[in-house]
């Protein structure tokens, strides 16, 4: 039996009917066509599908869609401001923090959640926050540098706006 799902994704409200067993990632990718969120493991162990659910980073393969009922989801597609990339996205580009890019959406969403909570993370805090994310390409250090760079850009942006 399908049930009603009311969900806000990237600021847009959606009214859907889904089977109770449907995963949040299936709604995001399948129903809404937001394929920026990836799936890579079938075992909740790679974090490629990470999105932000009411401010917290979650693996969207490990959340039932109905658990997100009445909540707000942010996916990688919702990060840029129109055609203006988010500072985290720009920092990932400028630091070559991805190669194949398949884990990148998840890394970026986890970075967003980290920096929202801890605007100036140490290198170790970055490693701790992203430890669950498998990346097979970059060797990981360049991701740490991108996160540090993103933190600085966001700080600069904030202080610029404040002035």
């Amino acid at each position: 039996m399908k049930r009603e799902l009311n969900i806000v994704v990237n600021g847009e409200s959606h009214n859907l009917f889904v089977e109770p067993r449907t995963l949040l990632v299936q709604v995001i990718r399948g129903e809404l066509g937001l394929t920026g969120t990836k799936q890579a493991c079938d075992s909740s162990s790679c974090a490629a599908c990470s999105v932000i659910l009411d401010g917290k980073v979650v693996k969207s393969c490990s959340v039932l869609a109905l658990q997100a009922n009445g909540k707000e989801v942010l996916t990688v597609e919702g990060l840029a401001d129109g055609v203006e990339l988010h500072p985290i996205q720009q920092a990932y580009i400028d630091n070559w923090a991805f190669q194949c890019g398949f884990c990148t959406s998840g890394q970026i969403m986890a970075t967003k959640a980290l920096l929202d909570e801890n605007p100036k993370p140490t290198r170790q805090e970055i490693r701790d926050a992203l430890d669950g994310h498998i990346c097979r390409c970059t060797g990981l250090n360049m991701i740490q540098e991108a996160v540090q760079d993103a933190a600085q850009r966001i700080q600069a942006q904030k202080s610029g706006k404040g002035a």
Binding site: A40, S45, L79, L85, W96, S105, R136, T138
Partner: protein
């Protein structure tokens, strides 16, 4: 050398915006209207005869649109070793018997993935189990079960390489040692699984395929053979690819069965492997046994080297036969070895097959050779870095009949390493050690097992009236950054900006052949083709500018910074954009085009050029737990002229990450052909907290065979990671390793052995006994 405007400058990835916004489409993300979902029924047995397959119940399931078994397929055999037909041993679905757990024997297309999966459960198969063989040493015995009927003793391929006089060399040696190794298999674990979307056009009889591959061309020719249709009727498009690492060279059953199901149903069909299928049925780095015998002079120079290997090939060939050959050559590089002999055997077994994973042919062999060399250095009382210097090759070195190094920076790399270590790691603490490993790797292979009649690399450019350039090639960006390199090379040659280049790469319908991304070939081979194409247009532009200037014919013109001008009087010249307009007008309105190509000739057996260098790892061993902490990594690297420093660093660090995983935690334990860890929960990949910092120092050389002097930068640095780490542990506590994967229990045993050995030595020294020579 002239200053480059673009080459050598850190350049952000041209695919960046697509990949950080989620807009970039991978095959995984694609759907087509009216699309069906395909699934494969796979064998639960490692070796069995198929007695019967009953699909009747599955066919009655609502939503099922087609079910095929071996007899419903065109039956074409394919493989990458097309030149030797008997090694083209893959088939869409097993015809008579299955050869490993996961060998597909039926395929379903249905309206949803769930229905397709349910249908698989309803297919009844009667098997007759056959004796199976999993170990290559068993497989080559006379009484072993035969995996393929035409291959006695399961010998899939053999390779012999020899130069000099090995027996004489060993006689001249002051020191000889032999070591035996067992190397574990490892999986490439691309984040995007193998998946394919195939769409057959009933009206034209043509097939279009989107697939996660490193070589659209390989997929095109393999599909044509599997389906028994013309190559020209198959179009392969490579969208963004979520990781390759050598595991996406072979055409796999996803592509072929999606195509057959689309041809049967007249609807687009997509097949996506799940992660379990990815681990258990797609190609991995071959497990193998190796025996090394090395002879050295007292001063540490190598006089003879003999290597034997037998590899656990698995059920099919893939690029395994090439891996076998390259194992025999890369194990010699970059050392001067006057007398050398190699014998390799690849055995068919009843497991999933091994192939060309990142650094293929180099990784297992370098682990063995570099750890053996450290033991030899210890016994001879020579510093480990010094013994590598004494044997390092120099520019122009030639291994008779095999390969030649033109650019060659290994000696300056070793010098720089020695200098940097002094300040980087002035002190080494208790139970800490520094280990070294030298390395070298090809810049694309010369071999033509695919038997292509085409140029190895091609590129085509079209320059439009506004100066924008469309660049077409079948070359493949699989994440390594080739799109950026391609745009940089094209822009540098034409003297314009990256933003002027529009890329159309990875589509068989839009461009002449390029063999794709494997063996670190794109920068050198495709780069040469792009440079060639761009140079043709540049020549036209320079001619027009020369005509307009009316200067002395002896004066040289250059295209640079979007201008075409006299080299010695830069103020005399024109805007690139204006000259393009004039040139197209002069050409009766036809856009300017250039078609470049590259095929290596007279460059030996392996490659036109070799990236190389030396890596040092600092590690600490915990004698109580056996845990190895990799603390720090230093690489000194010669990849010729660096095209993009950002991309080169990314390639080096990514290789080190995968190489350390090979040395620390990645393995594929099997029980009777069943993989025991087919998930990211159980297959361990190094995570953020596991990774050490990596410092890379470039020692640029100029490679005459490469575009702007560039050569390989993608794969070489995977091979030295595990041996330099094992050598660090050896230097720290004397523990010796004869297998990769330094898991705690193995380290503890090795540490205990080393302690026992040290005690024995102390005792015998106390008693005043001397071992007779």
């Amino acid at each position: 050398m002239s200053e480059y405007s673009i080459i050598g400058k850190p350049t952000p990835n041209v695919d960046g915006p697509a990949k950080v916004t989620g807009e970039g489409q991978y095959t995984f993300d694609m759907t087509l209207p009216n699309m069906l979902y395909g699934k494969l029924l796979r064998s639960p047995y490692p070796h069995a005869k198929i007695i019967s397959i009953d699909t009747s119940e599955a066919e009655r399931l609502p939503g099922v649109k087609a079910i095929i078994t071996g007899k419903d397929t065109p039956g074409g055999k394919w493989g990458l070793w097309r030149r030797f037909r008997e090694l083209a041993d893959q088939q869409a679905l097993a015809m008579d018997k299955v050869r490993f757990i996961g060998d597909p024997l039926a395929a379903v297309a249905a309206t949803t993935e769930e229905i397709a999966e349910e249908a698989l459960d309803l297919i009844e198969v009667e098997y007759e189990q056959l004796p199976a063989v999993f170990n290559p040493l068993e497989a080559i015995k006379d009484d072993a079960p035969m995996v393929h009927d035409d291959f006695p003793n399961n010998i899939n391929a053999t390779r012999h390489i020899e130069w000099g006089d090995v027996d004489k060399g060993f006689k001249e040696a002051d020191y000889v040692r032999e070591d035996r190794y067992v190397l574990e298999a490892a999986h490439p674990c691309a984040m995007e699984v193998h998946n394919t979307l195939a769409s057959y056009d009933k009206g034209t009889g043509r097939l279009t395929v989107w697939t996660s591959t490193g070589s659209p061309y390989f997929v095109q020719v393999n599909l044509a053979e599997a389906l028994k249709i013309r190559e020209g009727d198959v179009r392969v498009i490579k969208p963004h690819v979520g990781g390759h690492y050598g595991g996406k060279n072979s055409t796999m059953p996803d592509a072929v069965n999606a195509a057959i199901l689309s041809m049967k149903t007249g609807r687009p069909v997509k097949i996506v492997f799940n992660r379990d299928e990815e681990f258990t049925t797609t190609e991995h780095r071959t497990g193998q046994h190796m025996a090394l015998k090395i002879g050295l002079k007292k001063d540490g120079t190598i006089v003879a080297f003999e290597v034997k290997t037998i590899t656990n090939g698995g059920a099919y060939t893939g690029l395994g036969a090439t891996t076998l050959y390259l194992t025999g050559t890369f194990i010699t590089m970059p050392y001067k070895i006057p007398n050398y002999r190699y014998d390799g055997v690849r055995a068919y077994t009843n497991i999933v097959w091994g192939t060309s994973i990142r650094g293929f042919g180099a990784v297992p062999g370098k682990f063995c050779r570099e750890t053996q060399l450290d033991r030899a250095a210890r016994d001879l009382g020579i510093d480990p870095l010094e013994i590598r210097r004494r044997n390092a090759v120099e520019p122009g070195y030639e291994a008779p009949g095999q390969y030649k190094f033109e650019s060659c920076g290994i000696m300056p790399c070793i010098d720089k390493m020695q200098e940097r270590i002094k300040t980087k790691w002035p002190k080494v603490g208790k139970d800490e050690g520094i280990g070294y490993s030298a390395f070298a790797y090809m810049s694309g292979g010369i071999f033509n097992w695919i038997h292509t009649p085409y140029a190895f690399s091609s590129a085509h450019i079209k320059v439009n009236i506004d100066g924008t350039v469309d660049l077409y090639s079948q070359a493949a960006d699989v994440g390594q950054g080739h799109n950026t390199v391609a745009a940089m090379i094209c822009a540098e040659e034409l003297g314009i900006g990256i933003e002027d280049i529009r890329l159309h790469l990875g589509d068989t319908a839009h461009a002449y052949t390029d063999l794709g991304a494997w063996g670190s070939r794109e920068t050198l081979m495709n780069g040469n083709a792009i440079k060639d194409a761009a140079a043709q247009v540049k020549d036209v532009l320079i001619s027009i500018a020369r005509l307009k200037l009316g200067e002395n014919i002896a004066y040289d013109l250059v295209a640079k910074n979007k201008r075409i001008y006299l080299e010695l009087r830069p103020e005399r010249g024109f805007s690139y954009y204006d000259i393009v307009k004039d040139a197209i007008k002069a050409n009766d309105g036809v856009p300017l085009t250039g078609t470049g190509h590259y095929t290596p000739h007279n460059k030996g057996m392996i490659s036109p050029a070799y990236g190389m260098g030396i890596m040092a790892t600092k590690a600490k061993v915990d004698r109580e737990t056996g845990h190895v902490e990799v603390q720090d990594v230093l690489i000194v690297h010669d990849c010729g002229q660096v095209i993009n420093p950002l991309g080169a660093r990314g390639q080096v660090e990514g290789s080190v990450h995968m190489g350390l995983g090979y040395g620390l935690c990645e393995e594929m334990p099997m029980d009777q052909g069943m993989l025991l860890n087919p998930s990211f929960v159980d297959y361990k990949i190094l995570r953020q907290r596991d990774m050490p910092p990596i410092e890379t120092l470039e020692v640029p050389t100029y490679e005459p065979n490469g575009p702007f002097g560039a050569k390989e930068a993608a794969e070489a640095t995977i091979a030295p990671a595990a041996p330099s780490m094992a050598n660090a542990v050896f230097q720290a506590c004397g523990a010796e390793f004869f297998s990769n994967v330094l898991k705690p229990e193995k380290v503890l045993n090795a540490v205990k052995e080393a302690e026992k050995k040290a005690k024995r030595t102390r005792k015998s020294t106390r008693k005043g006994t001397r071992k007779a020579k």
